[in-house]
Symmetry: C3
């Protein structure tokens, strides 16, 4: 790899996304009676869980982190680092939320692209892209014995931002636009929606019970 | 497809089963602080989760809903529909329970049949048929942060009804009875046991602690 | 198989490990409002869950218990047996803990070995060995709606003991030591660490919140 090789930038972006998800996964364990092993597992699950489910459903096995163990190394390192650093000081949450929105956008497009490469139809590519972006966080919350954050109004548009960005990406690909433009426009869509939702408090409606108690 | 083609009826039965499971999955989210995205995920997981686990364990990948996205469309549609309608009025629970028993019977036989086609032995075909019938509901309850309903006495015979019906189906297949009779008799067994269990309150014993407090 | 065949001993050790895990899985359901079906599912998941996740990630499908249903038979039998016996009397917990430590050591090495056979790199073989040893228990705790025991300080070194033993096994394999010695030394490492951790109360640190309330 040299600096003129686009693979360098893909590598950096991918591992940046993995690192951010791992930090978010590890932080979710704070103050929850989870030991060091648990923290590393939660970091790994958050960072690699969505892509694992995508690969297993597609039959793209061995899954991506078995084929390239550097993903496991990055996630483990940042999980451990978070454990060490965040015991002493609180992390900058705004910065983390921004980085996480970037990771969401990046992984969603990567997931949708891989699904198309494995000959999934357009609707399934959107679904698998969204799964790649959000399923790791769902599994983390299940392991922590919580209602998944991504199902809750409090997180504002998250999966919806991923899904719409994936929809834009797949539509532009189907229309024949050359890469990397579909991915760039899809990422900007997801990122823009997510940040706008945080800024202006956009959220989906909640499923209330039909007959409220009187 | 024409009306004389048995594939038409299979299509209708399958999508009826998917729709019923999706409605049940969406309803489980009522009043649980889950937003619209969460409701659709719970509908999809309930309707497609069991078959996904079966396909992944068999190595029948890409899994069935990647090969035929119409399952995803039906489950999404009925999940959304339930969200819209059930906010206003309570659903007819007796009717839903009846439809759900039908879905359980239908999917269990479909799962057992696919397992035999992938050369699973008879005992494994019974196990995978049962998984196809009940695992979606287990994953839904785990996502909702609840002890799975299917493990609890309150649901009365559910997985047991599926397992016994699958056993009848596999036994008749092994004995060489021509299709569709093994599937028909297996479905009637599961459906009959399930409805009888609801009517007469049949349930399995619960695992109490050995030494009750004195 | 004859008594001079090493396969006999492998068979006995494997099914001993499955039986011990199934008993542990069933016992975890005691006093938790779980019915007989739930108890058997928890026994199966605890005994076969880790290996299932390993096989699915490797693409070694159909998974091992579909290829050899005797694993399902052993786990079901011991799950049922625990349900019947442990309703009356409390099990000998010390003996069970000892047997469980043996099962952990055995399955971890079996998982690491299978991963190497499927051409996983050394780091991934350690990870998949650990997953084989501990993931079944994690899924069981998730189904029971609890924070996984293996993430908690109270269990003392468990996953860590598995991981270090797998590390020793893989290192000796990479160094070219002939089987069965890498597996024997790896098992002794895991078993020794686990029992020492129980005896002397060794545990990993817990992830406390950064700013304790003042």
């Amino acid at each position: 790899m040299t600096f003129s090789d686009p693979a360098v930038y893909t590598f950096i972006l991918e591992h940046f996304g993995v690192a951010v998800s791992a930090v978010a996964g590890a932080l979710a364990a704070r103050g929850r009676r989870v030991d060091l092993f648990g923290v590393v597992v939660l970091a790994l699950v958050t960072a690699l869980g969505g892509g694992t489910i995508r690969d297993v459903c597609l039959g793209a096995t061995p899954v991506f982190w078995i084929q390239d163990p550097r993903y496991v190394a990055t996630a483990t390192l940042f999980g451990l680092g978070t454990f060490i650093v965040a015991r002493r000081r609180d992390p900058p949450m705004n910065l983390l939320e921004l980085a996480d929105a970037f990771g969401l956008a990046f992984f969603t497009m990567a997931g949708a692209r891989k699904s198309l490469a494995f000959e999934a139809g357009p609707a399934i590519a959107v679904a698998l892209g969204t799964i790649t972006g959000v399923a790791g966080g769902i599994v983390r919350d299940v392991l922590l014995n919580e209602l998944p954050l991504v199902f809750r109004k409090e997180i504002r548009l998250y999966a919806t931002a991923a899904m719409l960005g994936a929809g834009v990406f797949v539509a532009l690909r189907v229309l024949g636009l050359a890469e990397p433009w579909p991915a760039v426009v899809g990422m900007v869509t997801t990122l823009g929606l997510r940040l706008a939702a945080i800024r202006w408090d956009w959220a989906l409606p909640v499923f209330e019970a039909g007959n409220p108690p009187r």
